[in-house]
Each structure stands twice: as C-alpha cells, then as structure tokens.
Symmetry: C2
Subunit: 288 residues, 2 copies
Amino acid sequence: MKKIAIIGLGLIGGSLAIELKKYYHAYIIGIDNDEMHLNKSIELGFVDEAGSLPNISSCNLVIIATPVNIIPILAIEILNSISPDTLVIDVGSTKATICNALSHHPKRENYVATHPIAGTEFSGPTAAIPNLFKNKVLIICEKHLSSAALLEKTIQLFENLQMRITFIDDADVHDKQIAYVSHLSHISSFMLGKTVLEKENNENTIFNMAGSGFESTVRLAKSSPKTWTPIFMQNKNNILESLDEYIKNLTLFKDLLVNEDDQQVFEVMKNTNRIKDVLSGINKIKTI
Amino acid sequence: MKKIAIIGLGLIGGSLAIELKKYYHAYIIGIDNDEMHLNKSIELGFVDEAGSLPNISSCNLVIIATPVNIIPILAIEILNSISPDTLVIDVGSTKATICNALSHHPKRENYVATHPIAGTEFSGPTAAIPNLFKNKVLIICEKHLSSAALLEKTIQLFENLQMRITFIDDADVHDKQIAYVSHLSHISSFMLGKTVLEKENNENTIFNMAGSGFESTVRLAKSSPKTWTPIFMQNKNNILESLDEYIKNLTLFKDLLVNEDDQQVFEVMKNTNRIKDVLSGINKIKTI
C-alpha cells in the first residue's frame, strides 16, 4: 500500500488526499499544526493517521500543501531527512521563492515543484472535495532539477488524477504570469467586495442586487486570508506590477466616462470581449 | 390569448418571451431593429410574429428590453399610442433617466419601471434561456406613479415567473446602489480582462492558468458592449463615484503591499470575508 504524507490539510491538501485514496487506496498520514483540522480530516475519512515530521521517513511521497510562506523551510527540513527514493512535492501558488531556497540542496532532485490550477473560494478540511483536479492544469517548474524517475512518477500521479500537465521551466516566469492571471483576480475581487461593503450599509440591498454580476465577480473575496496573505507577500513585486497596470486601465476607463467618449468605451469593451475566445477552449477541454 | 409585444429580442427580451409562452401561452409580437435577431427569434420559436411600433396597439402588454439609451424615447412613443388598459414595462438596468423622462407623461400610470436582477454574460436571441428569472429579484421603481391595477398585474406576472418582487421607490437610489453592486462589477471585470490580455501575449498561458480564479472573475468581460455602453453613459455619475472608491481601495491595498504590512493585508481580507455571510442568504433562497 502506498504511504503518503500530506502536510497542510486544507482545500488542496484535503482534496488531494481524497483523490489519492480513490485512485491508489493510499494510506494517508496527515500533518497540520491546527489540531482541529487534523481531527476533522480523520473524521471525514481522508486521513488515516495523524503524523509529525520526524515519522514521515517511511513515506514514498510527501506533499506539502501549507501556506506558501512556510513551504521553503518545511521542504528543506523534509529533504534533509527522507530516504533516497522519496518524492517530495509542493503545491503552492508561488514557485520562485521555494525553488530558489532549494536550488542548492543536495537532494533537490527528490523534489518536484508543482502548482495545480484548481481551487474554490472555501478553505480548511471541510472544503476538501472529490474531483477538484479533474481536467485541470498542473504546472511543473524547473523540471530539469528533478530526477527523471521522480518527475515521471509525478506526471503519472497527476495524470491519473486526470490533470493536464504543463511545464514552465523558469519559476520567475510562472510567478509573473500567475500574478496577472490569478493573484490580481483575487485582489480585484477583494477590493470590489470591500468597496461595496463600505458603501452599502443595508446588506439586504447587496443581497437583492447580487444576481446582477456581483455574486460571481466577488466570489474570490470569500477566500482565506491565511492562504492569500503569504502568496501576496511572496509574489509582491509581480503583483505590484499587475496592480499598477490594473489601476492604470481603470483610471483610463474612468477618463473615458468623464469625457463621455462612448465610442471608445464601446471599443475598449469590444476588444476585451476577445477573452471569450481565449477561454472558450477551457470549456471544450472540460467537456472531454 | 394574451398578446404581448416585446421590443428588443436579446438575452432579457428573449428569455422573457420564453417564460411568457410557458406560463401564459402568450402570442408574442417581436420587434427588433436588427432583422437577424428578429428572424432568429422566430426560428427559435419564442416570437410568433414580427411586428412594428404602429401595430402594437392591440397588445395588452408591451415590454421594452432594448439598450437603455433608447428606452425613454421608445417608452414615450408607445405610451402616446396605446389603449387605456395596456401595461408598458421596461426592464433596463438603469431607472432614473427613464423615470424622469416619463414623470409628466399623461399616461405615466400605464407604465411600470422594472429591473429584473438576472442575466448572463451572453447576448442576442441565441442567449435567451428558460428559467433565467426563477428565484431572482425584480426591482420596481416609483410604484406610486403606476396605476394600482397595472402595478398589481405586473407583480402577478413576475411572481408567476417565480421572481421575488422588491420596491425601490426612488429611481436615483436604485441607480446609485446598482452602480456599486452591478455596474462596478462589470467594469472591474472588463479591466481585469484588458490588463491580462495586454500583458500576456501567449493566449495558451491565460488558458492554462484561468482555472485559478481568473475565469469566473473575468466572466462579465464577455458581456455585450452594445448593452453596457449606454448603461455606463446613463449612470455615469454614480459609476464614477463607485470607480473612485474602488481605485482608492486598490491603491490603499497596493500601499500595504509596498510597505509589507502583512498584518493589515490579512485584516483587510478578513473583514471583506463578511461578504460570505451577506451572500449566503442568496443560496438559501436559490434552493427554496
């Protein structure tokens, strides 16, 4: 039986545990510094045993699914103590700081840096759900620094979870791109929620009008600050660049409204409609 | 048989036609200055006959579902020619300009100003779908200016479509609130899409990473510029106010990142998580 340690039993760690039990009948050792999370995961049935770092050396696979700020330290500590064949994976939303911290580790080739592009706005072990990763993308960074055998094992593992594997060799490139596509979405959503909550004292009004596009656009503002604060801090420079561009575009649009330039307002939206074609492929893949 | 005229055969007009045929077996006279929309609506079966403004006087109900900039002129023209018992409704996303234009019309009491809080990011007659309005909110403005009988008829009509009716007597209040909750969501989404499209030349990267929150946050950027340009222009002042607040909040958040104030970044997100409770009632109602 496969023995797998998962550190961090939240949305991602918990959902991975569910899949690994389903596809591999894996025996899951769960580690979380929040004892309630640990107990809940055992109660929900996707963790078999509460573990601790010193006793994971018998595992063939260790998955780190904690907030990104503690991944580098954890990864080093784990690499220091594992057996030569053990595969260590992290699933954090940032990759550069983690990859840089491990680049000279003698057991770097036991490590595969991944980012599953999957999630919901919910958090903690009760947010763990089946099929979260099905038909989603897994990004692997710096594949050349992982051993060929363990890289292959990782690919197999996530392909069995029905994920599509893509590679971004440069972790800095990953972080810059994900700042624009994912992290900026979260900030735009959080600030939309904040702006509306500050203005509208009557929650019933928000509630009544939310069906008009607000509900879906503000969805990410339900996300966990515990997960996202470290991501924003770690990817600060890229996020600041994307935020600057975003604020610039909002200001330009505001100016078009001030000048009542309806022609340009129309054009800007028309050009942005192109996002429909870019994203339509996603739905094609989803229905495969 | 109920004879109903619908002017503007897009997402909202078309979806209303579908419901009115379902619940009332209504005979629908469709009017649209885009002949392709008209033919498509007849082909799709939710319009029975192509009409024109002069020949709608025999209808008991006229629904105006065009872009908001032409609603005031259309509404006046229609009110001028209808019989005393005919009910005229508009379903535009703004209410103040329309209500102001009609406030002194001798047949104002034949008019009910509504805003169904329902929609998708798609447009045109092919976007018309069944059940679009089910369990959604219908806002009625200036109800005191409509005749009691026709107001009651309107309430009955939309309650039969399983909508929840709410009243905002002051159309200016409606427009200010909807600017924050709905119109700002659309602008934040359009500018998010623009920012990402400008930065990322490789559409495949956007596509691969879109599952990380981008896809849902940018959904509204697929919306029709033909619908939304007039809304933004007509509700300009309120939208400018909401945009200013939004840009201010984004700038404050940016400053927190610059100063690496992770405590405050956490707090701001934690406080905004309250949106979860505000919106949770919606899902309760959805499942009724």
